[in-house]
Amino acid sequence: MKHFTEEELISFREGDVQQEQRIFAHVAECAACRAELNRIDAVLKALDEFSVPDPGSDYELSVWRQIAPRLPQKRVRWRHSWFEPRRLSAFGALAATLLAAFFLGRWVRPHSPAAPDPLNAQQVRERVLVVAAGDHLDRSEMFLVELEHAQPAAPGQKVINISAEQQRAEDLLQENRLYRQTAASEGDAGLASVLDELERVLVDIAHSPGEISPAQLQSIQKRIESRGILFKVRVIGKQLEQRPQRQEDAPKAAPQSNPVVRERNKA
């Protein structure tokens, strides 16, 4: 019987599968190779027990504190800022809604020959904006409500990590910019104005430190409250909800004389 070498047995024990079946079959029969494999196994198992000292519960933070001052600011490349995945997805969503508006407009036209074409296109674009911005305002409202009622997880907590909230604020901010620009270009000054105010609040949250004290959290909450942004978001959201109904009631009104837009612009 040909025995396996030490090298072959060590390779097998360390995960080499080339001769796995042959070695299994052989050690089942051969007491000498089985004993040799057991001795190798004992050494490697003992080494498994060789522990690494625990670097401490706040190790991650200490590494960050050590290296953060040594990290140079990256020079921003335009392709990185403009082709950032979330920005791309926001642009994609806007492009998709505009395309949908275009094709919907084309589809609607033959079925309503009496209606003036420019009016239909304008209405469809505005409806798309209403639906998309309404959804954005709902999510922003939910976020602001949560943040207004947020409190430290434990009573004596000195530092609060708001990095997840910052991430959400950042995401909402990206979308908000696009909706604000679209609203402004559509002549919807009322919606654009509220989105502008919302943007300032979101910037404020997104640019806060990742870890804040309970007092700083209260300060953010007070700023949100004092600006009355939650109320404005709710009001404009309600108006957007009612808007399709009113538009149906007055389908032939010219875009400039749309009563809802006019009313909101006044507000």
């Binding site: 001795r39 290296i67 040594r70 990290l71 921003v76 939910m142 949560e146 997840a164």
Partner: protein, 223 residues
């Protein structure tokens, strides 16, 4: 973290937000000028890199240097990081490469010096008792465990840097031979041989002790 009042709804939203905070997004944000996003990657992988660094260098001081240098180098090379790759694997390899350079440099320094104490190679752990978690009731077993840990440390220190790296990556971290070969700038066949030599040397160093004291276990890990 803060507690939100609308617990059920916000939990799902926060989970989704956490999922979105993937490595790739963090890298993109850093490249877009947001340096603080790098903190997420440091916090996610520093413990993992520390484990490798400690096993490669054998002491806390050098391990700390390797961890910091690995994250600094990864930051500097971030433009070369491919979004499809795993950032953890990438920084692990950077750490392994830096640790090899560090060990090579240390070997040169050691070879110039007179060895003062054969049990204190590489500035290794000075006090094995520092790792005692549960010493257990038996003083004899405790003594054997201290001795075993000390012998393991010594045996690991006596490996060449390539052998030590190959063994750590293969045995403790389960890396493939190709991956180890690329870190060692070697080929598969030579790398397999390096793993074998490492295990063989460790076996020669530890087997007599283990056969004499079959109940001994390295301190700090007794269960």
């Amino acid at each position: 973290m803060i507690r939100m009042s609308q617990s059920a709804g916000s939990l799902a939203v926060r989970e989704a937000a956490a999922t979105r905070e993937s490595d790739a997004i963090a890298v993109e944000r850093v490249l877009a000028g947001d340096r603080d996003s790098y903190r997420l990657l440091v916090e996610r992988y520093s413990r993992y890199v520390h484990r490798l660094a400690y096993r490669l260098t054998g002491n806390e001081h050098d391990a700390e240097e390797v961890v910091q240098e690995a994250f600094l180098r990864a930051y500097q090379k971030l433009e070369k990081f491919e979004a499809r790759s795993n950032f953890g694997t990438w920084v692990y390899r950077i750490a392994a490469n830096y640790a090899i350079d560090r060990m090579r440099q240390r070997q040169k320094e050691e070879s110039r010096k007179e060895p003062s104490d054969p049990h204190d190679l590489d500035g290794g752990e000075q006090d094995p008792l520092a790792h005692v978690v549960d010493a257990g009731p038996n003083p004899e077993r405790l003594m054997h465990s201290v001795q075993l840990r000390s012998r393991m440390q010594q045996a690991l220190n006596e490996l060449s840097y390539a052998e030590r790296t190959a063994f750590v990556m293969r045995h403790w971290d389960g890396c493939g031979i190709e991956e180890i070969a690329s870190v060692l700038r070697s080929n598969s066949s030579a790398t397999k041989n390096t793993v074998f030599r490492a295990v063989q040397k460790l076996r020669r160093a530890l087997e007599p002790f283990l056969e004499a004291h079959p109940q001994a276990k390295a301190l700090g890990t007794e269960r």
